[in-house]
Point group: C3
Chain length 666, copies 3
Amino acid sequence: MKQLLYGVAYYDEYMPYERLDEDIRMMKEAGINVVRIAESTWSTHEPQNGVFDFSSVDRVLDAMHAAGIHVIVGTPTYAVPTWMVKEHPDVLAVTPRGPGKYGARQIMDITNPTYLFFAERIIRKLISRVAKHPAVIGYQTDNETKHYDTAGANVQLKFVKYMRDTYGSLDVINKRFGLDYWSNRINSWEDFPSVVGTINGSLGAEFAKFQRLLVNEFLAWQVALVNEYKQPGQFVTQNFDFEWRGYSFGVQPSVDHFAAAAPFDIAGVDIYHPSQDKLTGAEIAFGGDMTRSLKHGNYLVLETQAQAFPDWTPFPGQLRQLAFSHLASGANMVAYWHWHSIHNSFETYWKGLLSHDLGPNPVYNEAKTVGADFQRLSPELVNLRKTNKAAVLVSNEALTAMEWFKLPDGKLYNDVVRAVYDELYKLNVECDFISPLTTDLERYNLIVVPALYAAPEECLLRLNDFAQAGGHVVYTFKSGFADETVQVRQSLQPAIIQEACGVSYHLFIAPDAVSLRGPLVAEGEAPAVSSWMELLTPDTAEVLARYEHKQWGEYAAITRNRYGAGTVTYIGCLPDAGTMRKVLAGAVQEAGLWGSEQEYAFPIIVRAGINEAGKRIRYFFNYSGDEQNIAYGYEDGAELLSGASVRSGYSLKLAAWGVAIVATQL
Amino acid sequence: MKQLLYGVAYYDEYMPYERLDEDIRMMKEAGINVVRIAESTWSTHEPQNGVFDFSSVDRVLDAMHAAGIHVIVGTPTYAVPTWMVKEHPDVLAVTPRGPGKYGARQIMDITNPTYLFFAERIIRKLISRVAKHPAVIGYQTDNETKHYDTAGANVQLKFVKYMRDTYGSLDVINKRFGLDYWSNRINSWEDFPSVVGTINGSLGAEFAKFQRLLVNEFLAWQVALVNEYKQPGQFVTQNFDFEWRGYSFGVQPSVDHFAAAAPFDIAGVDIYHPSQDKLTGAEIAFGGDMTRSLKHGNYLVLETQAQAFPDWTPFPGQLRQLAFSHLASGANMVAYWHWHSIHNSFETYWKGLLSHDLGPNPVYNEAKTVGADFQRLSPELVNLRKTNKAAVLVSNEALTAMEWFKLPDGKLYNDVVRAVYDELYKLNVECDFISPLTTDLERYNLIVVPALYAAPEECLLRLNDFAQAGGHVVYTFKSGFADETVQVRQSLQPAIIQEACGVSYHLFIAPDAVSLRGPLVAEGEAPAVSSWMELLTPDTAEVLARYEHKQWGEYAAITRNRYGAGTVTYIGCLPDAGTMRKVLAGAVQEAGLWGSEQEYAFPIIVRAGINEAGKRIRYFFNYSGDEQNIAYGYEDGAELLSGASVRSGYSLKLAAWGVAIVATQL
Amino acid sequence: MKQLLYGVAYYDEYMPYERLDEDIRMMKEAGINVVRIAESTWSTHEPQNGVFDFSSVDRVLDAMHAAGIHVIVGTPTYAVPTWMVKEHPDVLAVTPRGPGKYGARQIMDITNPTYLFFAERIIRKLISRVAKHPAVIGYQTDNETKHYDTAGANVQLKFVKYMRDTYGSLDVINKRFGLDYWSNRINSWEDFPSVVGTINGSLGAEFAKFQRLLVNEFLAWQVALVNEYKQPGQFVTQNFDFEWRGYSFGVQPSVDHFAAAAPFDIAGVDIYHPSQDKLTGAEIAFGGDMTRSLKHGNYLVLETQAQAFPDWTPFPGQLRQLAFSHLASGANMVAYWHWHSIHNSFETYWKGLLSHDLGPNPVYNEAKTVGADFQRLSPELVNLRKTNKAAVLVSNEALTAMEWFKLPDGKLYNDVVRAVYDELYKLNVECDFISPLTTDLERYNLIVVPALYAAPEECLLRLNDFAQAGGHVVYTFKSGFADETVQVRQSLQPAIIQEACGVSYHLFIAPDAVSLRGPLVAEGEAPAVSSWMELLTPDTAEVLARYEHKQWGEYAAITRNRYGAGTVTYIGCLPDAGTMRKVLAGAVQEAGLWGSEQEYAFPIIVRAGINEAGKRIRYFFNYSGDEQNIAYGYEDGAELLSGASVRSGYSLKLAAWGVAIVATQL
């Protein structure tokens, strides 16, 4: 990427009246240098089967080019036109909830050949038309692609073939998936039932994995099509997104981001997060760390919020802070969804930079300062490189397994992931994400493994080897519990890693009025345990905390074990945030990663990298509504936003919801 | 109406044993002078397709006539017989939840020709049979008619034709409804999808409006049929009802009462409300004001509760109070649903005047005193006339829009309506209801407009003119926001009324720990804001309250603007009840409507009108469990219930849950 | 039964690797002397239509026999194989929620002839094969059989015929079920609608009763099949279960246990209950008293929990306590579900005696002490006889009626049953359960009748006669209210029993801030009333408590009436637990049943019976986490677990969650 991109999603098609020139004028004023178009408007571009009208695309490309604004063109395949569904109702996905209904986006069966025929045709028509336009810098395939729970008869058939290809025989399947249970045994391929009604978590989880493969296939197919037209210098990206809990919460259940990202030139993402008093920056960091890890490099934030919902409209200063927060994680582009607030339909209250009156407003006015700073500081801030020594291992398979087997209080995999990640974030420990298939673990000193419920043996053995060789691992409860078919291991738990952890357990309990005691716990404190507790018996491990409970008080809760040249920490329960932070801080220290960043703590967040000129760029954020003065403890440098010089030992003032960016020589 | 009617719904068909003579004896004892029959019992009157048996009707008519009790005959069309559904299952409405099942009432497609054929036949048979019976004073068409969410293929087809008739072209529709969004554009009439799955709020709201038109058509068709047989002096009415939240809460979402009431001779209604300690009278006043406004005159309370639910069974005194509360709003009839508690089926715990034992009981005994008073005081109390100078403007379209676009805390249109209405009620400001189509606004001094989310431009212009000419308007937040197709207006908000209000806003927020300060707020108080807040910038308006909040403290919350010869108050948030009352009280004063009634306040409620003799009748209610002594500040008069004379300046004693009625010369 | 049975459900088919010998070794070590097999694994035994493979059964039978472990063989019919559903999808029950999906157990239409054909074939094949095997001591038919809400077209047809057979004519049906209401009248048999959509509680309740008859028929059919092969000394049992609220809560809604138990040789049951700090023993006693009452004798606990859920894993000591708790109610067998924790599928967290690692663990280790004690003490503890003088009358019909007509706060029949039963339990008043059809009431001194909402007249008359003749009855509210078709009685309430109770009421209320006062209430207390209150007017009854309420204070709440030679107590509301206990204690005293057991109270529970040697066996339980010393006030005897002698007047020490068993001569 040659420059920082500051952008918006732009829907000329949605405009209530002719606005293109005025919009571009206002964009320029705000420093917008890229727009994303076309990903939602198939029915405009192909008003009837085989009739094409790209006039809205053409005119936007021409006008943007004239204004010096880049364009990313989306393939418009994630929302299907009315004519298609009327002609071919079978393009709609049949899900466990029944046949689909026309209306929303993302309702189609992504394996349906009719849909694929139409999708290929519009992709080829559109991309071939725009590829050589000088405004176009890249493409987005589809949008927030998932499998939409497609599970109809054709998908079931495909699944049976997948099962035969993967496992070879029904004997193997019956054994590994435990199908004797409740008479679910399949003794002939023809008898393979639709798994829509299955109560077998192993089978259900395998179907979910298969559905994720459909997404990979679909996206790779789109990339291959677009690549046929792509010009030198152009990129193809995808707008990945996360588990949605009203905002971008955690690992995406329906897509294996690591696998799905493979065919793309650069990773893209949308990140939405609580704002106003609830803004912490954690989701921005989480989404950024994840997306940067997909292709080990910079990434594009294709969507994030401008005003958005009534409870997200940023406080003064927050829009600036957010933009730089994305850069601090390695983003090269920050784009808002979307330029203008939409006057009809569904997302009327997901407001854009402009309110419905389409004039300037306080948020737009703040964006102008961001645009100006991005432009001015682009040479210093673009292409930030990071070399993190800590990583968090996440797994779609573990996530799915914990949807089938929820913790007693209903908590899910991502709750555990966030319980771990958020404390690392607050400790200013920057980290990458890795997957169960990652093999080059030696890049890291510390690997944190939340709730690795289901994983292949090789993954666990690699982690054992990593520790043996001097690495440091932190596991939470449930790790090692089941294999990749969600069959609980029959060895002593935590299975496979038991020796490395130096503990074992037979029993696990839903904690009720249980707290912690022991070396890790300060005098007079009794931090609570929630969600889960394993009754650990230490073998070679040192006990960091025990349970405080009349009956379970003899058992260990959190342990640390020397294993070969490394250490393995095991957290057998879900402790409170403070205890989690202490355990992780200890592991960071063990791993030799405790540094000056750890002298700060949330709400002061420090994130850093190396820029193209080889300078270290350090972002200092104040995620609070109170002005903060922090001691600057690094080399002398320059604060880029103000231009002021910064000297070691002096204090750095951060406004409420403020940011400072200090460049220093390495 | 020549006399007050005191009645019950009577179901001879449901009686477990022969009771007619005994029932009539007990009715006479209670002063019951009207019964409503036949609206629920089609299967009794037409036991087989084309076989009729009106013996239960005949015998009841004869017996009632002999006893001097009037009868209102209902057309029995809102609950269909088993044989009809067995023969023609397509009479059941197909709804978004799928095909219907036999069992409940109100499950049919009111556009289905088979249903209409059978309905017409039973109506003609029944009404032609009874029309000349001397007991019959009027008719009720169907019962609590709605569209029952009918949305099957035939209804969708009809909707497409409606859309073409209304908007002419798909270009217009695509533009006004914003169908480019998410590829929903319709480029050929054949492609028009069922809107059952639509995510487009504009389209969804239009379908809801269309469904309300089906109700109008259906009722007008029934009225025309009945009118063919109606004799001089007889009336046709409909039993309207309200949004149901376990009781009659607010504006009916599925029926446009103003339009639907047109063909009827007199408006009828059912009103149910919390009771015991939760009794306030507000629902009785709300429902009464609304129903009186439909045809600008007296109305019939065709159903209200006797004992009803276990949490509604009235405290001693409340049944009396309720009966007179209805009269105080302009009712000429108060009828209980129903005479006897039903021994089987579904509404077993919706008890009538009689308990299941069918003997006298405390509630029945109290009804006897009501009946006697009604009879005695009928000449004074019947045909009460009201000429209110305040009105509340309500809108089905705004209601539907806010179902699509709920407030962040889930609140709906009627929550805002009631937030406004209830404070007027507690201030003893009697008001009418008007609709967005009402043109003779000059009848009023003050018009209160809660959350007029979606409205045609003409309506807003009329309100501007009204204020300009010296009227007083109070708007709450969201007014002016969108046009009648729920397209958000592109002008500065509050659109169209912005100049009249003298404020504007770009941003709106879901309040979190926000309170009010400013002239309206008393020293030391910090009344909370909930649900919604618009960040108002006053232009010409005076600020009545600002937000107390670190970030939004600069913005106005409630303003008042002189506009022409009038004033326009704008409430940009949902304040607490006390603040709402203060704002409304101020507007009442501005409008010159502050009078002696406002010296009282809830739980003392005063409602008044002019009787046929030209005397002013004032009802004084004590909606509390504690006896109250109030200062009587009006002309000397007579308390009708006791016969005592009442002198100005003296005190009037109101028992717990008591009522006094004072007649004075004008 | 010749000995106490201590067992597990054993699924050789589910084992992840060959374990049979090791399992048997560990079972023997734990004193397990019986296993239950085969009830869940049809697809293993009949892998294809007509292809049978009983090798897993054969090998288990042989191995168990060799080890001296008995086997109970289940008919494997409650979970159907994949091939059956693929070939004949109509074997799945069509329910009100629509067609079924393959996956879970208990999804079939138990009236479907295809299913019945296959079920009969596998039963005959399996039972004929194993009947003469020396390991087999008995059979279980199906498992936790219910009707699974089967309600498809064939079932509706059968229901119409049932209605005609039962009631003769539509005139009777229309009258008794109140079908005139809402036009539901049926005037021709062909018009009988599916009752799936019915809103008529009488009709809905009758359908529920009919569905329970289907269960009786199905089970009797299975028993007859098995009986063809049963050898002398073998038994046939059924695994009954209870209303499930996350554990065995109350009367089973879908099965009439009294009727369904008739064809069996011995009653069997599964009982699951809260554990850890929430363990009270009440569910064990409730389930035991119920199951013992079914066939007036000892019973089998075919399933109860070992480790089970994370919140049930027993505290040290609790597994022992639970095992003896079952014996104390008359069980001759205690078996865990299940031996080993399952590694896949659905019930992975319903852990067995063994954890997933299949090695010893603390719970298994505790089981070993139980097994040893069972074996040692079997001669003293087996075949305990009880002759209770108190009974609780429960009714499926009342239960169903209260599902249709819930209490205002949503409480159901079983809430009332448990409110009564649990206080008897805490008072150490052992009781039987009887049904509305029980005629030999003279066996009892005291009959407690919770919420007998719907009952035939004869039942109430029998209770009147019982009291008249000197018996003592305690009714709660709602008793007598409706007849067996859930038609509310038209006489004064409480109907039929009104004279016996000496009270009547017209009105009932949902209590809001109502408490009790009167003789029963101690000075300074104001125990709360919840859920329901009838406004009782005493006639001949003495008032035990009145309502404390401004409006309802004149009415009685709880009364007692001398009637003939007995007394009848009527509880017109749901009082708090303490008041309920006082009322029941009073009735126990009136009935002359107050004994030394009543000197103890929960958490000390005493339960007793006579053993085969004619000695009295008294169990003393401490259901608390604190050690207890209780005064032993009986004859001198021997504590069987310790072998220590126990003397009257001395104290008996009970460990936390401990048990003592004292044998004394009569």
